[in-house]
Amino acid sequence: MSEEEQKKSVAFGETTDLENGEKVETSEGNTAEGHSVAENGDAEASTFDPSAVKKKKKPKKEKESENGEEAPKENGDGEAFDPKLLKKKKSKKAKAEEGEVGAEGDGEFDPTKLTKKPKKTTKKKAAGDDDDFQKRLEELGLEDKKDEPAAPQTQEEFEAELAQGGGVWAQDNATPFKYSQLLKRFYINLYEDHPELSGDGRLKNYKIPPPQVAREGNKKSIFANLPEIAKKMKRNPEHIIQFIFAELGTNGSVDGAGRLVIKGRFQQKQLESVLRRYIVEYLTCGTCKSPNTTLMKENRLFFVNCNICGSRKSVSAIKTGFQAALGKRKKMQA
């Protein structure tokens, strides 16, 4: 099953496979329904009869207690039977570990590091994921070596030289460019600016940098690279912020540097899951699952237009829903 294989690779910041997330969820739903229908066949009839509201009450209690005993067993069965469920759990764990590792790495607050790190990771990712691309680059690298031993030896050196504008790329350097150098430069630039165009044409896994979450004091969390993520997703940061606050049932503010300050303690993996839900709901195209979409507002309704296949779907506006009054406010009300 190619789906499951893909599922394994789900990890935030490296690969965010949206199709699978959705598919797994729906299949789970089906299995769960299947179980409940099969095992509570007679009991269910009583719940589904809306007319017998008062009659329903008593049987329901019995039924509930029955199910209370049955429920854990059912769940156990479900897990054992459904490989997807297990997979999901495993991948979640894996993701969590990775998230922690990432957090540790980013935990040190070195401003230079913060800015540099994402780039590095994306490059490494590119090397790991995009085999075709990497091969092509390597081939080019080999050719280069044969052609002129004076040229930078490794990929990193080449990239560094390119970035700094040194070597052949220097402004006053009169040596003519070689075709292989230019081609290499083309691929590097293409990958940085339009990752979806490099590789084998269409990128199956959508990547965004992992959220960088730090704690401010005891009760606030800082989501540092929200603007970067918003830019990558081509969404208004305000919209993402609204979604995050509605999901987490909290509020917060944006500080001077564009970072998001959220009230409450949140970890990186928690924000990851929220962002993942945002992507599924407001970013992916309903038809082709491409994340290359634009969000438009028309007559108070939000629409997601796909830039790839041109399809269009309406999405619900973000609603906060019920917010329980906590702490002092509650006492004030009472």
Binding site: H35, T47, K61, E70
Partner: protein
């Protein structure tokens, strides 16, 4: 003439979730002080008695909870702690609510 292999995916079908969008049951979580959390269940169908559900949930999950009246959103069940998964399992298994009608929010 039938082309069976073309029926696997219909790009023009309605995307799922289009039919019964209005009556979602929202299960949310809110952070309180420290490690404590609060689970709220909003939008239970009318034929389900929230009192009964609450009573059962309190016993089953060994937690406390209450019912809050909201002017716009009706009766809302509040439970102490993170009971999102448990309550959604309960609703799916014994209250005949489809998973597609339950929305779990929060992290």
């Amino acid at each position: 003439m039938s082309l069976d292999n073309l029926k696997s995916f219909d790009p023009f079908a309605e995307t799922d979730g289009g039919d019964d969008k209005k009556d979602y049951i929202h299960i949310r979580i809110q952070q309180r002080n420290g490690r404590k959390t609060l689970t709220t269940i909003q939008g239970l169908p009318k034929e389900i008695d929230p009192k009964r559900v609450l009573k059962f949930a309190k016993k089953e999950f060994a937690t406390n909870g209450s019912i809050v009246e909201d002017t716009e959103l009706g009766e809302i069940i509040q439970l102490q702690g993170d009971q999102r998964q448990k309550i959604s399992d309960l609703m799916m298994n014994s209250m005949g609510i489809k998973k597609s009608n339950i929305k779990i929010h929060g992290f």
